[in-house]
């Protein structure tokens, strides 16, 4: 059974204080690993897809990396508008539904 574990559950940062969010996964043949951002009361918004170990993607202050067992979402010099819940999900081989982690709730304080 595919599983995704995200840590920490919640993270509080000062503005400008860089950090990383972790996503550990077990999957029978990784088709893709996905990162989403979710603001309160809204649907998740797509950030990145990673397909193979060693792959990295960047968008503004966010950088996602992937190994064979985990993914990291690195946040460099965060701003208060980066406050959100960040969700990680995996898709295994074939046309299977995504399996989500429970998310990391990030708060960035000015």
């Amino acid at each position: 059974e595919d599983q995704v574990t995200q840590s920490p559950e919640a993270l509080r940062l000062q503005e400008g204080e860089s950090s990383s969010l972790n996503c550990s996964y077990t999957v029978s043949g990784l088709r893709g690993l996905f990162w989403y951002r979710q603001d309160p009361g809204k649907g998740p918004e797509f950030l990145f897809t990673l397909y193979s170990a060693g792959e990295e993607k960047e968008k503004e202050r966010l950088k996602a990396t992937l190994t064979k067992k985990e993914s990291f979402l690195h946040i460099t010099a965060p701003k208060p508008e980066d406050s959100a819940t960040y969700l990680c999900a995996v898709q295994s081989s074939g046309n299977t539904p995504l399996v989500f982690g429970k998310g990391t709730r990030l708060s960035v304080i000015a």
Binding site: K42, P44, E45, L87, N95, G101
Partner: protein, 110 residues
């Protein structure tokens, strides 16, 4: 811009009512999904569909049914609403890999 539209942002229904949650996508995606999201439990898959008139049970289908008469529309039906179905409901569509989510429906059953 691609869109997944959920018909209601907020809904209040009485126990025992039959409730319809509508989801429409304009991306010609074959795959559509319904999740519910609860604090501490993350996103849980209710039902999904890979084609018109086709449906598959997810992890928590009890108390729900779905309908997909047209490719662009996927409806979630609560046959007899109960208070434990109070939740945030999220619809998503996908071409094959990755999802686009709707903005969610916050359902309260009283």
């Amino acid at each position: 811009d691609v869109k997944v539209t959920q018909s209601s942002r907020y809904l209040v229904k009485r126990t025992g009512e039959k409730v319809f949650l509508e989801c429409v996508q304009d991306m010609d995606h074959e795959n559509m999904f319904w999740y519910r999201q609860d604090p501490g439990l993350g996103l849980r898959l209710i039902y999904f569909s890979y084609d018109v008139k086709m449906k598959e049970k997810g992890d928590i289908p009890e108390g729900y049914s779905v309908s997909r008469e047209k490719k662009e529309r996927f409806s979630l039906i609560l046959e007899s609403a109960s208070t434990n179905q109070t939740s945030m409901y999220l619809c998503a569509s996908s071409p094959r890999y990755g999802y686009t989510f709707g903005s969610g429906t916050r359902l309260t059953v009283v």
